[in-house]
Symmetry: C2
Subunit: 408 residues, 2 copies
């Protein structure tokens, strides 16, 4: 059975790990940053070398296509190249590298295929430099309003808006180059699991059935600033203490729900954030995910029970965004499972906790995903790791899944 190359896979991972290298085993490669653009240039160079034609669309999504033997819709595969701050060398980029390796294998081994094969790189999946996450697949798939994204005045640490970064990237192309559902047969995205399940169970391949539903809320607590040395405790309106009590309440209540629920208070800010001043405004975020919409409803009920005044501080909250549970195309899910079995790789069906560009694409074209294990379940951190062997197994399953689709 035709397979991808271990050496080429390893070389790709090593090469791309240099773009944004933190020197501590990980990368910081924000979307459209200097480092991300260097990675895109390497991608273009390598894809052109195997005869791919390159285009970009108006959101700087990058498409590299090798022709098929017939004039048919293209089979897409790919992911994103951007990372969070001090992220790892596998989240996103591995989906691009395996798709590149699959295309290279098909070209080098002269594997016949009717459909064109397009390797896609989505712009700004992480949302770490510019919110929201999955911005560009969201725009292409009608989830986000392009004008709103370009109009956003949110700036990164260097004072750039998304719109400025896009203009200066050199990768902004034409709207007509966008992924076109009429000319797209299917999309398969490979990704690391970003969780501990596959590794814990000693499984090679995650056959992804869908993506868990989630909600993300931002809470705001308004108190009263005052000098740390004088305001008697009983007169205080300490916004941080109000936030602390609320986070504890959320843990106490949410821990009683289904054990597969995951929730995170990842972001907190205090104003004026000076050691000698009682904070008058504190914000924090809550992210909660579960594949069963009923459990998400229970989370909302718990949020709604938060009183409007805590520790004499005004409490408010709003939904930053939410997502319904997404199910992938069953026929494609079966192809992934079949391909894994053909290689004798251990596999199991699984739901994705994190969001992926693929969950937007499913609304337009048949779509599925392939997971490979994350050692220790780590992701979005520098120690994120998947051995080359596992990456290669993923690439092989991706290759054969694409060939199964091509045979239809």
């Amino acid at each position: 059975m035709v397979e991808c190359s271990y050496e080429r896979m390893e070389d790709k991972i090593k090469t791309f790990s240099k773009f944004g290298d933190t020197g501590k085993g990980g990368i910081t490669r924000f979307s459209l940053s200097e480092e991300a653009i260097a990675a895109r240039c390497e991608f273009v160079k390598r894809m052109e070398a195997i005869g791919a034609s390159i285009v970009t669309d108006d959101m700087a999504n990058l498409y590299a296509t090798i022709p098929g033997t017939e004039d048919l819709p293209a089979i897409f595969s790919g992911s994103h190249m951007d990372s969070v701050r001090q992220g790892g060398n596998y989240d996103g980029i591995l989906g691009v590298l395996t798709a590149m390796e699959v295309a290279e294998t098909i070209v080098k081994e002269k594997i016949p295929h009717k459909h064109p094969i397009t390797v896609i790189v989505w712009t700004n999946e992480e949302g770490a430099r510019f919110e929201p996450a999955m911005m560009s697949s969201g725009v292409i798939c009608g989830k986000f309003d392009k004008a709103a994204m370009l109009a956003s005045e949110a700036k990164d640490r260097k004072g750039y808006t998304f719109s400025q970064a896009l203009e200066e990237s050199g990768f902004k192309g034409e709207e007509k180059n966008r992924m076109n559902p009429a000319k797209t047969k299917a999309l398969v995205e490979l990704h690391i699991e970003q969780g501990p399940v596959l590794e814990a169970e000693g499984i090679d391949i995650g056959v992804v059935e869908g993506v868990c539903g989630m909600i993300n809320y931002e809470f705001t607590f308004i108190g009263q600033a005052g000098h740390a040395g004088t305001t008697p405790m009983k007169y205080r309106k300490d916004a941080l203490y109000a936030a602390v009590k609320t986070i504890q309440y959320l843990h106490d209540e949410l821990d009683q729900l289904d054990s597969k629920l995951v929730y995170t208070t990842g972001k907190i800010s205090a104003h004026p954030n000076i050691h000698t001043i009682i904070p008058d405004e504190v914000k924090f975020t809550l992210d909660a995910r579960h594949q069963d919409p009923e459990v998400i409803k229970q989370v909302l009920t718990i949020i709604k029970k938060i009183p409007s005044v805590v520790e004499q501080c005004k409490v408010s909250y709003e939904e930053a965004w939410s997502r319904r549970t997404v199910s992938f195309t069953s026929k494609l899910v079966d192809y992934v499972e079949k391909s894994a079995r053909e290689f004798g790789y251990s596999n199991r069906r699984i739901y994705s906790g994190p969001g992926h560009d693929a969950q937007f694409v499913i609304d337009l074209v048949p779509t599925t995903m392939i997971f490979v294990p994350s050692v220790g379940g780590h992701s979005h951190c520098e120690i994120e790791y998947t051995p080359v062997e596992n990456c290669l197994k993923g690439a092989n399953v991706l290759l054969h899944t694409i060939l199964h689709i091509d045979k239809e």
Copy 2:
């Protein structure tokens, strides 16, 4: 009895409130900022207009001296002009404005005085732009090492170090101009109470006996970053949740100590501080103050009881700084009380919770302070307010306290 001028007092407060005006009733006037330098220039202009001679020392502390009739040590009065972010129009600056008004009254009314009278402006009392607070009085009085202050690589939001800001201020002078104990008879600093006591009790003047002891600790929690959507709750090392539990513990324990204890967790930071990532490092500060050293010891005992591991996160803490309770020169305290009584102003003895430059000066020269009420006890915020009437009463007490000292 000779008095200061209501109109001039009001004019001074209004004029200086323009330097760093936030447009919301307060000011942001960080030390040595453009706004602070504009305020210094106004100070120099006005003091030269009444015949004062101006010098600055190597920490940019600013001295304006009107001569006495004899060659004697000078009587000092003044405070600071810098503010916290979105601070008020009275903290610090009122001590400068009342000293200016006292000097102007003495000159205009031709009040005979043997000793020179020096109005002093201390550099960087708040420590809001560059830590530590009371940096320059601390250097002059041997509390801080000047070389260390200048060597600090801590940068403000615009990327300035203290040393750069000092060089560019145009107010850096010579070390020989520092306040010299041998040539300084006494120092009297007027300040707003920054607390609710005087106003609550309907009292005009706080006769300050000393400054409360305090400790300031920084806590650090080290967990493990991971993706919000995948890491099962039981495997998490959430540094923010560990910090939340510890802040709750501190409240539970510290609330059982003497009710005059004040403590504040004013500053918190999370890393990487992204809504979809479990925080792997969280820091917060604890500030605790009480005039009785025994109570401060009890606070330390409570801190030391914090376990080294909370919610599977490593906990560490260190003292950022501390201060012993300071007592002012009793004879000067008596002069303040006597002057208040002479005017028939209601008054009471009180300890200061906040730190003031005067607490460093006491080690070198006889020193005391005068408090005026803060409406609502607010300070370090835009609604900080003291009516002109109260400011004038403070100026009058300052004037007569200085004249009592002069008669010795």
